[in-house]
Every structure is written in structure tokens, then in C-alpha cells.
């Protein structure tokens, strides 16, 4: 008898041997956490050298886990793909059942997982953004007609909703807005002081903080805080209503979603934002004064005098106007993201992120536009 050529690869109780045109895979003892990828790779390599038959033996198998299943499953698939004969001997019944399950072919994905080529994905992205633009416009149109209904007294907006929205973005936001603006005033004064010190002109810190906070910084800080705090909560609340089919219920009841959900929130923010901006201006100036009086040792009266000199009603009103615009933007971005939210929990997260990012982007754009207009008008 010709002695067979034997290749021996012991691997955690898996022995893979090639015997003429037969590949033997023998499992024994405990096969736990074995290197299944390595084993499969070896088997794949050996199948290429004229193998006609695969024999899997597991008579002495004791304990096993999924890593064993992977080896058997992949081997059988390889054998199937190359039309090899595969024998399985002594496989425990539960393992055989599992294999049968894995090879059952009565389930197949019906749709989804589409792959797009580069050109197709560009086309798809273009169509998607066109759809988004038209959706945004239709949302704005709905909001305007909802406003029209409100002023003609036909709105289904509930006063309670407005009050609770106002409470949420008014009194409850005071603490955080005060703290942040105070700190921003502090920082402005510090940074300014270092520069102004070189000219011995520290006293102008007062003017710097006053003009900076009133004209723009107060509104911007309030805008960013409220986008993160209130805009995102609008998106999450309305998005969750989408998931819970509450938006569907509104629609089938014939109640306008915009009247019902968007209008009270816009009104609340439009009212709250200018007031919060004023608060931020004042807190920022107090922050600046803290640095000026206590750290730079500027005389209190001097500081107050320079502050009042720098204070200018026009700047102050421009700042408030920013706050007003930011209020509209935050409310619209938050509500739009919520209304266009998908129907699973995941998409609520996406909607929330979208609301904050888009609100901040549009606030910056608006600031730019207002600045240019002010420049043209010489304000």
C-alpha cells in the first residue's frame, strides 16, 4: 500500500489532513475559541490541490462554540461552491440542526442594501437636495399660511402649548444664559486687557466689552445656547411624536401640525430671545466690570463712565434684532427637523443633530447679511 502524503495542521483540536484526493477535517475534545479564520484559510488553500472529497469527522467532539460552527459552515460553503462531495460524520444532532438552519434558503432579503455607482450616487444626491429645498420651501409656506390663520383667528393653536413653550425657553433658560454671558464678558475683558495694557489704555476694556456684548456677542451666545438647548428639544419632541404616530393622528384629525406644534414654539422663542439677549448684554457687562474693577484695579466710577459712553442705543437695538431673528431661525430649524424625522429612535438623534447644526449655520449666515445691511445703511 502506498503511504499517503499527509499534511498535519493541529489547531486547537482541529486536525486538517489531505489524503490523496480526500480532505479530512477532524474535530476532537474541546473546540472553543479556535482560530476559525486561520483554519478556513488553510482549508481553502488545500482544496485547491486536487481535492475531490471533503470529510468532516466529529465523533470525539466534546465542547464547542460558534468558532467551530464557522469552520464547518465555511467549509461546506466552499465545497458547495466548487461542487465537491462533502461527508459529515458523527456531528452532534444540535450541531446538525444548526447547520440545516444556516443553509435553509427560504429567506431572502426583499429590498434594501442598494449599491450605487459613483455617478448614480451623485445623481441621487442632486435629486435628494432638490427635494430637500422644495420641502423647506413648502414648510415655510405652511408656516406663513399658519401665521395668516392665526391673525385671522382661525388657528387651532392652543394657548397652553404657547405658555409651556414660553416657560421652557424663558424662565428656565435664564440661569444658563446668565452664567455663560457673564463668563464671555469676563473673557472679552481679559483678552482685551492684555492688548490694551501695552498702550496703557486698560480703561478702554469697558468700551470693548460694552460694544462687543451689545452689538453681537450677547445675541450670538444666546443663539448658540438656545439652539443647543431649545432648538434640539423641539426637534426631539416633535421627532418622537413622529415615531409614536402622534403626527399621523394630528393629520388624520385634520389638525394642522404647523398650527399645533410649530406656531406656539416660534412665538415663544420670538418673545424670549430678545429678552434673553438683553439679559446676556447686561451679564456680559457685569462680567467685564468684574475683571476691570477687581483684577485690573480700574476705578469703579471711571469704568462706569466709559461703559455709559460706549453704550449706544443703535448697537443695542441691532443686537436685540439679531436675537429676534435667531429666535425665528432656531424655532424653524428645530421644528422642521422634527417634522421631517424618520420613524425610528435612531432618526430622532439625527433630527436633533440636524436642528442644532442647521440653526447655527443659518444664524451665522443671517449675522453676515445683517452686518452687510447695517454697513450699507451706515448703522
Amino acid at each position: 500500500m502506498k503511504s499517503p502524503k499527509v499534511t498535519d495542521i493541529p489547531m486547537n483540536n482541529i486536525v486538517i489532513t489531505a489524503e490523496n484526493d480526500k480532505l479530512n477535517i477532524i474535530f476532537s475534545g474541546d473546540v472553543l475559541g479556535c482560530d476559525s479564520a486561520g483554519a478556513v484559510q488553510k482549508i481553502q488553500g488545500m482544496l485547491q490541490s486536487g481535492i475531490k472529497q471533503v470529510v468532516i469527522k466529529a465523533e470525539d467532539l466534546e465542547q464547542w462554540d460558534s468558532s467551530l460552527l464557522v469552520v464547518i459552515y465555511e467549509t461546506l460553503r466552499l465545497a458547495q461552491a466548487t461542487k465537491l462531495k462533502a461527508d459529515i460524520k458523527g456531528l452532534p444532532k444540535n450541531l446538525r440542526d444548526l447547520m440545516q438552519l444556516a443553509f435553509a434558503d427560504d429567506r431572502k432579503p426583499t429590498h434594501g442594501g442598494e449599491d450605487y455607482s459613483f455617478l448614480e450616487s451623485i445623481g441621487k444626491a442632486t435629486i435628494d437636495s432638490a427635494k430637500t429645498v422644495s420641502a423647506v420651501f413648502s414648510f415655510l409656506k405652511q408656516t406663513l399660511s399658519s401665521l395668516g390663520r392665526f391673525f385671522s383667528g382661525n388657528s387651532v393653536m392652543r394657548g397652553v402649548d404657547f405658555c409651556s413653550a414660553l416657560e421652557d425657553c424663558g424662565p428656565k433658560a435664564i440661569a444658563i444664559v446668565s452664567l455663560i454671558s457673564f463668563l464671555v464678558g469676563l473673557i472679552l475683558a481679559f483678552v482685551g486687557a492684555i492688548q490694551l495694557q501695552t498702550f496703557g489704555a486698560q480703561i478702554y476694556v469697558a468700551s470693548l466689552v460694552t460694544i462687543g456684548m451689545c452689538r453681537i456677542m450677547g445675541a450670538i451666545m444666546v443663539g448658540i445656547i438656545m439652539a443647543g438647548r431649545t432648538g434640539s428639544s423641539y426637534a426631539a419632541t416633535i421627532g418622537t411624536m413622529q415615531v409614536n404616530e402622534e403626527l399621523d393622528a394630528l393629520q388624520t384629525m385634520g389638525l394642522s401640525r404647523v398650527d399645533f406644534l410649530v406656531l406656539p414654539r416660534i412665538f415663544a422663542l420670538i418673545l424670549a430671545m430678545p429678552i434673553l439677549t438683553m439679559l446676556a448684554d447686561i451679564m456680559g457687562m457685569i462680567g467685564g466690570a468684574t475683571v476691570g474693577v477687581f483684577m485690573l484695579d480700574l476705578p469703579y466710577e471711571e469704568y462706569l463712565k466709559y461703559t455709559l459712553n460706549a453704550f449706544n442705543l443703535k448697537n443695542f437695538l441691532v443686537g436685540i434684532f439679531h436675537g429676534f431673528c435667531f429666535g425665528i431661525i432656531i424655532a424653524l430649524c428645530g421644528c422642521y427637523s422634527g417634522l421631517t424625522c424618520g420613524r425610528n429612535a435612531d432618526s430622532v438623534g439625527v433630527a436633533t443633530t440636524k436642528s442644532v447644526v442647521s440653526a447655527i449655520v443659518w444664524m451665522i449666515v443671517t449675522t453676515g447679511i445683517i452686518t452687510v445691511i447695517c454697513l450699507e445703511l451706515g448703522i
Binding site: 426583499t110 402622534e246 399621523d248 393622528a249 388624520t252 384629525m253 385634520g254 389638525l255
Partner: protein, 251 residues
């Protein structure tokens, strides 16, 4: 006596954009039926319901209710029909910022001229009808899943609808609550003569309440069978329907 046709669905194609779930469906729901829309998960039952209730437009075809074309008819007539239909959503869809009573009063405020006191009483009555006496001032977050569905049903019944639609009423309920809801559906159907359309894949429910049905199939995107579910079980027209109605037994 032949019953009057309540909902007439003609050549209806349901789907989203290019993705067709069901094409050229034709069926009728008769006055007073408890009509079951059944089929496997993801075959488009909820989407079919969304088309019937006007939440999404059909890709093609018509839905005619009481002789009014709901797809292309005049808006005010369509609205009148919509007011006369109630919907119980899969999750109840109660507004979480309102009490149960306020939830039920919402459609009343929109479409009736009752005084607030009358509305409160009507809301209490509807809650009592579904077995939630005394829960008027509870918020949805304070009651169980089964109770939420019943409260949702009370809201669906607020305007004394002619048709009530249910999306998987038994989903997420224990067997007893599910049974109770079935009994409630039967009672409403019998005492008020309300036409009822139920989307479900609960066999127990299907046989307990259904007297007419269609079976949707995801693979062929068509209606595979129609009629009384009991008859379908006795004379299954094909393997898929038989398997579905017997929980997967082979013929």
C-alpha cells in the same frame, strides 16, 4: 340581503416613490363588516392603512368611501368623510402633553360646538365605554400599554365615526388585554353598527372578530386571497394562505 359597499378600492397601487409594495389591488369593504387586512410583516399592511386613511397618497388608483373619491374628490367632501372615521394607531398615538380627557376633547373642539362642560362629559363617557372610568385626568405616560390602546380607541370614537381603522390592535399586549380589546371591537361593531378595518397578523384575533378579509403577499405584491377568514381556513386557495392561517403547517 346584500350589504351596502362602504369602502371601494379600485386598482390601488401602494408604495413609496419607486418602491411598490402592492399593485392593482381591488377590494370592497361592506357596511358593518369587520374587515381584516392580513399578511406577513413588512408586506405593506400599515402602508395600505395609511392610504385608506389619507396619510399618504396612493401611487395609482382610487379609494371611494360612501361614494366619495378620497383621492381626487372635492376637499370639503373628503374632509366630511375623514371626520367620520376614527383611527387607532399601533402605539395609541396619544398626545403625551395632554391628559386622556384632553386627548379625547381635541377632535370635539375641532369639529363640534359643544360647550366645554359637555365635551368633558362626552370624554368621560367615551373613556367609560372602553373601560377607563375615572382616568380622565391621567397622562398617557401614567397608564399601561393596553390602557393606552383603549384610550386611543376612546379618542377614535370621539366623533361617533362610521368607520374605525385599527393598526395591529393586539401588538404588544398580553393575551388577556388583547382578547379584551377584541371583545371591545366586536361590541362597538355590533352595538353601533360601525364598519371596522383591522390590520393584524394575530391569528387568534383574525378568527375571533373577522368576517371578511384580504391577504396581502409581499412576493407577488398582490392580494393572494379574500373572504371570510374561517372559509379561507376551510378551503385555502393556496399554500401561502394555508401556511399563514395555520402558523406554518404544510398542506
Amino acid at each position: 340581503m346584500k350589504k351596502a359597499v362602504k369602502i371601494d378600492v379600485k386598482d390601488l397601487t401602494v408604495g413609496y416613490g419607486d418602491y411598490v409594495l402592492l399593485h392593482d389591488a381591488n377590494y370592497q369593504v361592506n357596511q358593518g363588516d369587520i374587515f381584516i387586512i392580513m399578511g406577513g410583516s413588512g408586506c405593506g399592511k400599515s402602508s395600505m392603512l395609511r392610504v385608506l386613511t389619507g396619510l399618504i397618497p396612493p401611487l395609482k388608483g382610487d379609494v371611494v368611501i360612501d361614494g366619495i373619491n378620497m383621492v381626487s374628490g372635492a376637499a370639503d367632501k373628503v374632509q366630511k368623510i375623514r371626520e367620520k372615521s376614527g383611527i387607532l394607531y399601533q402605539s395609541g398615538a396619544l398626545f403625551s402633553s395632554m391628559t386622556l380627557s384632553e386627548n379625547i376633547m381635541l377632535p370635539l373642539q375641532q369639529y363640534t360646538d359643544y360647550s366645554p362642560a359637555t365635551m368633558r362629559e362626552l370624554a368621560s363617557l367615551k373613556l367609560a365605554l372602553v373601560g377607563l372610568t375615572g382616568f380622565d385626568d391621567f397622562y398617557p405616560s401614567e397608564i399601561s400599554g393596553g390602557m393606552k390602546k383603549r384610550a386611543g380607541l376612546a379618542r377614535a370614537l370621539a366623533l361617533d365615526p362610521d368607520i374605525v381603522y385599527f393598526d395591529e390592535p393586539s401588538a404588544g399586549l398580553d393575551p388577556i388585554s388583547s382578547r379584551n380589546l377584541d371583545d371591545l371591537i366586536l361590541e362597538i361593531n355590533q352595538s353601533l353598527g360601525t364598519t371596522i378595518v383591522v390590520v393584524t397578523h394575530e391569528l387568534a384575533s383574525i378568527f375571533a372578530i373577522g368576517n371578511n378579509s384580504i391577504f396581502l403577499d409581499a412576493e407577488t405584491k398582490t392580494i393572494l386571497a379574500r373572504g371570510d377568514p374561517h372559509e379561507l381556513l376551510k378551503n385555502p386557495p393556496n399554500e401561502a394562505v394555508y401556511k399563514f392561517l395555520t402558523r406554518g403547517e404544510k398542506k
